[in-house]
């Protein structure tokens, strides 16, 4: 069954129980990541892209804070149905995750090599020596120069780009089938970002590892992903092939996001077209279509009823908008 996606999220809802009541940062998200595919998830802060990613690994405190609904199918089972112990066997082993700030994810008092060895020995029955050799091999794989020396160093001795390479090496230790990268290059300079994205693409090609790439940067998506999922306020508003979505975005939010990015070849004299307002907080979710209060196309229907995420006839792009047909130019 090669057609079956590696990760399939169906109607996922993640609820947080806060002092102000229950909020739902992930509200009915459905998406999939195919085998060997890089899928980009974009949106502004507060749109639920990181919460979706963290829900896949069930990183939220389920005893007090969070509860889940829906289904996360990975490798023939529903991750939401696993016991905490079974889930520990998935994290870092079958699915790995890297974060924006590698320094806060690395332990400052252990060497780089030691931290890779720890991950390896947690999931694999291998000896210390063998693990150490594997750690050096992993560091080399991620393009770290002089890996034997670096393995003996501590996180503070490395630059930001090097630290992110170390995080990737740890993430790759157990040859995961899926890598979740949450804003992996946001804290890095643009020349270092280019190196890290190159590395992620290279590992995707060479190891056939699927990647879920969370970013706010549309340029990063355009350059690295084959499919894109656009989120707004806890929901998917548009998803499809990167080329289709960038060529002809159908959701007014996607259109707004794309126009707001200043481009190196754009007209400098023009104002940057922007969308009015900002993403509302989760306890003030608007009625009907969640984007309606900021949308130029909004009418009474938008303000009262929530559109479904659906494909237009003859299109592979799925979009959550009453006016998508009009925007696509296929209806009046």
């Amino acid at each position: 069954m090669s057609a079956e996606p590696i990760l399939q999220i169906n109607e996922l809802k993640t609820h947080f129980h806060t002092e102000r009541g229950r909020v739902t940062p992930v509200d009915g998200v459905s998406l999939e990541v195919g085998r060997g595919e890089i899928v980009g998830i974009v949106g502004e802060s507060g749109c639920g892209k990181s919460a979706t990613a963290q829900s896949v690994l069930r990183l939220f405190d389920e005893k007090r804070l969070a509860s889940y609904e829906g289904e996360i199918r990975f490798g023939g089972r529903d991750l939401l149905g696993l016991t905490p112990k079974q889930m520990r066997g998935v994290r870092g082993n079958e699915i790995s995750m890297i974060f924006q700030d590698p320094l806060s994810s690395l332990n400052p008092v252990y060497t780089i090599g030691g931290q890779i060895v720890e991950t390896l020995r947690l999931h694999r029955p291998i000896g210390r020596k063998e693990a150490a050799a594997k750690a050096i091999e992993l560091l080399r794989l991620t393009g770290i120069p002089a890996p034997e020396r670096r393995a003996r160093e501590y996180p503070h001795q490395l630059s930001g780009g090097m630290r992110q390479r170390v995080m990737i090496a740890i993430a790759l230790a157990c040859e995961p089938r899926l890598l979740i990268a949450d804003e992996p290059t946001t804290a890095l300079d643009v020349t270092i970002q280019a190196q890290i994205l190159e590395l992620i693409q290279d590992l995707n090609r060479r190891l056939g590892m699927s990647v879920m790439l969370i970013t706010h940067d549309l340029g990063v998506v355009a350059e690295t992903c084959s499919r894109v999922v656009v989120m707004y306020l806890g929901q998917v508003v548009e998803s499809g092939d990167v080329r289709d979505v960038f060529k002809a975005p159908l959701h007014p939010y996607t259109i707004g996001l794309m126009k707001a990015v200043p481009r190196l070849d754009g007209d400098r004299k023009q104002e940057l077209p922007d969308v009015p307002g900002s993403v509302p907080p989760l306890h003030q979710i608007p009625q009907g279509c969640r984007f309606a209060p900021r949308c130029a196309f909004a009418d009474d229907k938008c303000r009262s009823a929530m559109p479904e995420l659906a494909a237009l006839p003859g299109s592979d792009t799925r979009v959550r908008c009453w006016h998508a047909g009009r925007i696509a130019g296929t209806e009046d």
């Binding site: 802060s45 120069p145 643009v190 706010h216 355009a222 350059e223 126009k259 940057l272």
Partner: protein
């Protein structure tokens, strides 16, 4: 100084001329007997002309923010001069500097950290007026309310606390606070870097509108070259404390001359999947400013470096009208 009209002055004399600015920090070396020095800004010269936006671009650690802060003497410069309408700001006493601070203001990346969390926004806006002894309390309140409208907020925001505002609204407060004294120059240090792209475009548009209305001159410091291109008339590219290239915006993008500028431009991801381009790969990381490379500071990462680059420091030369670069290979 004779009175000249602003337009005439713009062509004749820059509003601010920075000459050989250096800012060195003493860093404790590995041995107690060896003191080392970080050359954060190492001999930067440029002009800021009346009414223009000068964009200063570079990666983290290149010294661009230190440069901005040195101009206002928020950190004391080590050497050089900053001539504001002919007067060297670096030679002023603390007291006489106060008067110039009214005319040169600064906006930071994160206005939240520069606002008192327990003070309402209105009071924070009035603070500069209080410091400079301007107006009665009633007049100050009126002025603060007026500024809120100017930056696209409402009068009711006067009574809000910083945590009640969104990131974009806080940056509007940052702008209002800088503009309340009617400055002529605003140094903007990464003013939109922490903002989401839609909010970023709102703030960039607002800054352009305010510049036109209030006849402001901007020094716009940022790492995002696409944003800088959008707002700047001229751009300077910094690498390891030095200005490696400077040109009018369109010239710089049409014909980047310094290899570092070329690398920087090619590294920016383009939001167009059909236009994926070949990148000029850049090896390695930024060298430590504690131990900067000899010769041209960029030679350790430059794809075109020759023997001469390793030994001899390149001098800044004019390669085209108004277009300067410091590279041996041009």
């Amino acid at each position: 100084m004779s009175r000249v009209s602003p337009t005439k002055q713009a062509s004749a004399e820059p509003l601010l001329r920075v000459n050989g600015l250096k800012k060195y920090y003493a860093a404790s070396g590995r041995s107690a007997f060896r003191r080392s020095v970080v050359k954060a800004v190492d001999g930067v010269s440029f002009d800021l002309r009346e009414g223009e936006t000068y964009g200063l671009v570079g990666e983290s650690g290149c010294g661009k923010s230190t440069l901005g802060k040195s101009l206002l003497r928020l950190t004391e410069p080590t050497e050089g001069e900053a001539l504001y309408r002919g007067v060297d700001l670096f030679k002023q006493s603390r007291k006489s500097l106060q008067a110039y601070r009214r005319e040169l203001q600064i906006v930071f990346q994160d206005p939240f950290s520069s606002l008192n969390p327990r003070q309402i926004v209105g009071r924070a806006l009035e603070e500069p007026l209080v410091i400079h002894g301007i107006g009665s309390p009633k007049e100050r309140t009126d002025r603060a309310m007026e500024m809120l409208i100017t930056v696209g907020l409402r009068m009711e925001h006067y009574y809000r606390l910083p945590h009640e505002l969104s990131g974009g609204q806080r940056q509007r407060i940052g702008l209002a606070r800088a503009l309340i004294l009617n400055p002529r120059i605003v140094i903007c240090d990464e003013p939109v870097s922490a903002l989401d792209v839609i909010i970023q475009s709102q703030i960039v548009n607002l800054m352009r509108k305010l510049q036109a209305e209030l006849k402001l001159t901007y020094l716009f410091i940022a790492h995002d070259i696409a944003v800088v291109r959008h707002i700047s008339d001229r751009i300077g590219i910094m690498y390891l404390g030095k200005l490696v290239e400077e040109a009018p915006t369109d010239k710089l993008f049409a014909n980047p001359r310094h290899p570092y500028t070329q690398v920087l431009l090619s590294a920016v991801p383009v939001p167009d999947p059909s236009g994926r381009r070949e990148r000029i790969a850049l090896e390695g990381d930024l060298p430590s400013p504690l131990d900067p490379p000899s010769g041209c500071a960029f030679h350790t990462r430059c794809p075109f470096a020759t023997e001469r680059c390793r030994t001899e420091t390149p001098i800044r030369r004019e390669v085209d009208e108004g277009h300067f670069a410091a590279c041996h290979l041009i």
